[in-house]
Point group: C2
Chain length 365, copies 2
């Protein structure tokens, strides 16, 4: 029984314990394919990557690798290309992170140091920077508006039928929303409401604000016929963010240069995602982890059909140890994983640091 167990364990380990030379062949195939986007043959490998064996030997290894599903042959007389399983093995065991150049680190720091203050423009420049460095498309999401706590609320009376609500959240997001009032309200009344809201909502979790809470809070006004139910609804929507998650997309154009997207029809599929914020949102949400730093999703692992020949590397960034948002690179399956991972790790670290610094600054008030 014991011996059987051992055997089982060994067979389980099989994937891990690929022979050294086979690994090197697989590694060579994938690296070459990533670089040149063309099937890789046995001769190419022996010439470019010093394995010290003949093409025939490499062919034998390749035959094995194909049998085990790590590589594929587009047609009989072509070289091999990595399969999904192959990429996965590569990413998990073979890939070497490419060190960043001082210029790249500088570029990241410059953008991150820039202006964490205003989320919107900040994230947009992060996206553009990341796309520039990777040559792939970038998708970033800032935290659901429900995240974080209320730091400040301001009600500004624009006219007797219009109130501007300004919300400052602990996540650094500042939002304004114009509320049309069905019933006229005087500036004094607005100011009083503001006081009530401030007193009761500061420090409140944004997601805990709901219609009932607001009604209780403002019931005096409602009793005086000053607030319509409609107004409360609008207020609640504005405060809770109403699921309004902001998504940022950059570097879409880079995809046009990828040989896998020479075909306009493939582009159409891909771009259908970039044009619908909702789909981009779903994509990055389902592909990013809730806890870890980096996730890599490869080809067929992608949740949406339109991007099944893409891979995505997503990093989270954190404020106060809590996940604050994600930023991810979307490239062809044949993307440069080593380089991109290095970039993303650097960026995510810098991001988290910058945001925490900012928080610290606030706490020292």
């Amino acid at each position: 029984m014991e011996s059987a167990n051992t055997v089982d364990r060994v067979s389980e380990m099989k994937v891990e314990s690929m022979e050294e030379r086979k690994k090197r062949v697989l590694n060579a195939i994938i690296n070459d394919y990533i670089a040149n986007a063309e099937p890789v043959g046995s001769r190419t490998i022996t010439k470019k990557y010093a394995l010290g064996v003949s093409p025939a030997t490499v062919r034998n290894e390749m035959s094995d690798l194909e049998e085990e599903g790590y590589i594929e042959q587009p047609h009989t007389s072509a070289g091999r290309i990595p399969s999904g399983k192959g990429y996965r093995y590569y990413v998990d065991h073979l890939m070497e992170k490419e060190p960043l150049s001082p210029q790249e680190i500088h570029q990241i720091r410059k953008v991150v140091a820039g202006s964490v203050k205003e989320m919107e423009s900040f994230m947009l420049s992060c996206c553009n920077m990341l796309s520039r460095l990777t040559n792939y498309a970038t998708i970033a999401s800032i935290p659901e508006q429900g995240h974080g706590r209320v730091e400040n609320i301001q009600l500004l009376s624009l006219s007797e039928h219009q109130v501007l609500l300004i919300l400052v959240a602990s996540t650094g997001i500042i939002r304004h929303k114009l509320i049309e009032l069905p019933l006229p309200v005087t500036p004094a009344e607005v100011a009083a409401m503001e006081r009530d809201l401030l007193r009761n909502l500061i420090g409140c979790e944004l997601r805990s604000i709901n219609y009932d809470k607001l009604r209780d809070l403002l019931q005096d006004y409602q009793a005086q016929q000053k607030l319509a139910t409609k107004t409360l609804e609008l207020l609640e929507q504005a405060l809770s963010g109403d699921g309004e998650q902001r998504i940022f997309i950059g570097g879409v154009m880079h995809m046009l240069s990828q040989p896998e997207f020479r075909d306009v029809d493939k582009l159409k599929n891909l771009f259908s995602i970039f044009e619908q914020d909702k789909r981009a949102q779903e994509l990055i949400d389902s592909v990013s982890s809730d806890d870890g730093m980096l996730t890599i999703t490869i080809g067929s692992e992608m949740p949406q059909e339109d991007v099944q020949d893409c891979s995505m590397i997503v990093a989270n960034y954190f404020v106060n140890g809590e996940k604050a948002g994600s930023i991810g690179v979307l490239g062809p399956t044949r993307m440069s994983y080593g380089k991109t991972v290095s970039l993303m790790e650097q960026l995510s670290a810098e991001l988290s640091k910058a945001m925490s610094d900012k928080k610290k600054a606030k706490y020292t008030e």
Copy 2:
């Protein structure tokens, strides 16, 4: 002398006075080419468009039209396609506006009626709607921030080093900007500044606000070492908008379906504009008139090389008789001018109306 004069005038009129049949041939060619994106032959014309003459006759007309530069032949044995000059003549003299369907009018009204309140999301949905209706890309710009007058200013003290500035402009634009203060300021001081700004700037033309004006206004604080020069600069930037013109782009994906952009390289040129707000801005600015309602710019008339095989139809919309912004459709030169012009006229009228209504509502406060 008099007779010479007459002759001159006649020759000047020549373009206008194209013979009826020739016009009909040109019209047929352009309409067919717009519909099918393929060179049009003489047989096609006699079959599809009842001219009551034989293909040979049409061929003669076509030969003339080619000589005069209205149409071109891609190669000897192909039909004819319109030239830039041909499109121009078509747009100026032949094109018939296509009436809109009730559904289309309804869609426009629905979006325009939606929520003129918040410019940003409003313009974005206008763009998307217009792209959906035309199947072309849309570019819109909202007025330079320098337009309009100050309607309200609010300063919100977030911390002793951060002030949030909220600006409500008469154009309906609401903007917030976080200002980092080099020197600490108490909430009371911020409130006092706000009062001073409000008293002096309400009703002020935004573009008339400059550094000197602000310095005069706030010199007391500065004298007390409460405001750094840097702060004044930031304030001035925030108020003047600092050239921050917002541009909106929608429906880019539709261009992928146009046969003229089957070629990925052509797409690259086109998309290089969509990715750089600045270039999109330049494009719509240089192509829209300052006064008239609608402008049509065709192919080689386009100011940027990357869009020389596109046409653009731009409408202005007005608030209080003043140009408030532009919205334009960018399609292939072979675009459906008749339909698009109708849509744009309708949209621009509805837009101006909606915005004026809103103004009226404000003035009746």
